[in-house]
Structures are given as structure tokens and as C-alpha cells.
Amino acid sequence: MSARFAVGETVKVRAAFPPGHLRTPFFIRGKTGRVTAVLGPYRNPEELAYGRSGEPALPLYRVLFATAELWDDFRGAPQDSTVVDVYENWLERA
């Protein structure tokens, strides 16, 4: 398994809404962020949840978003950020 994205790269979270067990929160779907770490391969939780092997493992990334871009009515500071761990099957090149 080699990671498709590198630290510093801009990525977009797929705006997908499939059924089932998912670890990608709704509030980042369709949003653009920046990879801050490549955490390594982890078995796919969307498969593990149903008693399957979760193989092949997926690269897992830390992705940092500007919080103001996640919410229409965000009232924090402009530099506030949100970091979410996202599996590679949810990421596209931005």
C-alpha cells in the first residue's frame, strides 16, 4: 500500500452519502482540506463493521480544514481549524 497523497497536499472529501457504517463525518463531505500527516495503513472500517476482513488496508490521513469553511454561520476566529482522520477512499485530488 502506498499513500496517494502527501503531507501538505490539498485534498477534497468526496460528497458521497452511501448507506452503512462510515467514519467520515457529514460536515466535511465535499469540503477541501490539507493533509497534515499520513498515519499509515488501517483496515477499512466500512468492511470491518460487517464482520469482513477490512483488507486491503487503506492509508489514513489527518486532514486539516479551516473551520469557517465547514459551517455557513461559523462565529469563531478566522484561523480556527478542524482536524479529522480520513481514510483514502474518501479523498480526491482537489
Binding site: 467514519r23 467520515t24 463525518p25 460536515f27 498515519l39 488501517y42 472500517p45 489514513l60 486539516l64 473551520t67 465547514l70 459551517w71 461559523f74 462565529r75 469563531g76 476566529a77 484561523q79 480556527d80 481549524s81 478542524t82 482536524v83 479529522v84 482522520d85 480520513v86 481514510y87
Partner: protein, 225 residues
């Protein structure tokens, strides 16, 4: 943050106390068993019974495991933070790999990878799990009820400064408030900044400043007045 302790259920309604009918008018706290067991509770009990019946584990081993889990406290995490404050090279190793750094202090942080995120004068970190209640239990104990509440999980990503204000914590406008949503395979803890006025303190005294809430990021360590 709503602290939902249901105090009303414990209240004694003295204004409406009818002697001889106290059992009717006296509110009581429901027993744990009052609600029907859920599907997963039944399954859990069944699996535990089977494991014991088949001799794979004993009832005492199961009990001891539950006791060990419940006995975890924030003390281990606090010791690590204090060591990191006292020893810059330990801090670097802790930021690299919390689980491995923990072994230097004889602490077992378990097999789930834990990362520490460091507060600085430019960034303040706070941890949430919006999907459930993921939490580095082996280092900071069982999560508080509010950490698992829908209010904390949904609001911390949407209005983190308002949530922190309800904990009595104000982050200056110029500081980046960084929220970490631990939705996957890693767990996160905050490495708070060492408070001013603690020069010369030994690690034990420093560890006394590091509370559970400091390591979740909803408050800051405060030097004893």
C-alpha cells in the same frame, strides 16, 4: 454544556407529602434493570456466559478486567505531561509516539495508537469524537458523561469557542482553536502548555496541575494560587 444529572429524580417533594402514601408520592431513582435489555446487551451477556461456560475465561477474570478498566485514571497521562514539561527530549519522543514514550515511565498505553497534540501560544487544541466517544482511556481514564453527550459531540466542532466558554475557558481571538475529531483508528490527548510560575517545581508537583479536562482541552492547567 448541559450537565444532565437528573437531580429531579432524587428530589424529595416535601410540599406534597402524604403520610401513609409515601410509596406513591415519593419519587425514586429507577433501577438499572428497569428498562428492557437492548439487543446488544443481551448479546453481550450471552457471549460472556458462553466464554465462561466453555472455560475460556473465568467469571473472576472478567470481573477483574472490568475492575481494571474502571480503575484507570488521568494520573498516567498527567505523569507524562509533567515529564514532557520537565524534559524537552521526552516531549519530542512523546509527540512522535505517545505509546512508546509511555513505556519509559512504565505506563502501558495499550495497543491503540495515541497522539499528543501540543498547546502553544499560537494554537489551543481540543479533542472530540463526533461519531461516538473515542478517548485514550488507558492514559486518562474513562470519559466523563458530557464527553459522550450529543451536545458536546455536535457543538464542539460547530461552535468550539462557545463550548469552551461554558467550561470557563476563554481562548484569545489571536490564537488558533484547533478541534481534533477522532473518528478513526487513533486516539488523541492534549499536551497543555506549562503554566507560568512553576519554575523549579518537581514532576510530581507539576503532575498535580494536569487534570483530565486539561488533556481533553476544555480547560488549561492553573498554577496553585
Amino acid at each position: 454544556m448541559a450537565h444532565e444529572h437528573d437531580h429531579d429524580h432524587h428530589g424529595h417533594d416535601h410540599g406534597d407529602h402524604h403520610h401513609g402514601h409515601a410509596h406513591r408520592s415519593h419519587p425514586y431513582q429507577p433501577d438499572l434493570e428497569e428498562k428492557p435489555l437492548t439487543h446488544f446487551q443481551v448479546m453481550t451477556e450471552a457471549v460472556a456466559d458462553l466464554l465462561i461456560e466453555k472455560g475460556i475465561i473465568t467469571a473472576d477474570e472478567l470481573r477483574a478486567m472490568l475492575e481494571a478498566i474502571d480503575a484507570k485514571s488521568p494520573a498516567a497521562g498527567a505523569r507524562m505531561v509533567a515529564r514532557a514539561w520537565a524534559d524537552a527530549s521526552f516531549k519530542a519522543r512523546m509527540l512522535e509516539d505517545v505509546n512508546r514514550a509511555a513505556t519509559e515511565l512504565g505506563i502501558d498505553a495499550g495497543g491503540i495508537p495515541i497522539r499528543a497534540v501540543e498547546n502553544t501560544d499560537r494554537v489551543h487544541n481540543v479533542i472530540v469524537c463526533t461519531l461516538c466517544s473515542c478517548y485514550p482511556r488507558l492514559l486518562i481514564g474513562l470519559p466523563p458523561d458530557w464527553y459522550k453527550s450529543r451536545a458536546y459531540r455536535s457543538r464542539t466542532v460547530r461552535e468550539p469557542r462557545a463550548v469552551l466558554a461554558e467550561f470557563g475557558t476563554t481562548i484569545p481571538d489571536g490564537v488558533e482553536l484547533r478541534v481534533h475529531d477522532s473518528t478513526a483508528d487513533l486516539r488523541y490527548m492534549v499536551l497543555p502548555a506549562r503554566p507560568a510560575g512553576t519554575d523549579g517545581w518537581d514532576e510530581e508537583r507539576l503532575a498535580g496541575l494536569v487534570t483530565r479536562d486539561c488533556m481533553i482541552g476544555v480547560t488549561l492547567p492553573k498554577p496553585a494560587g
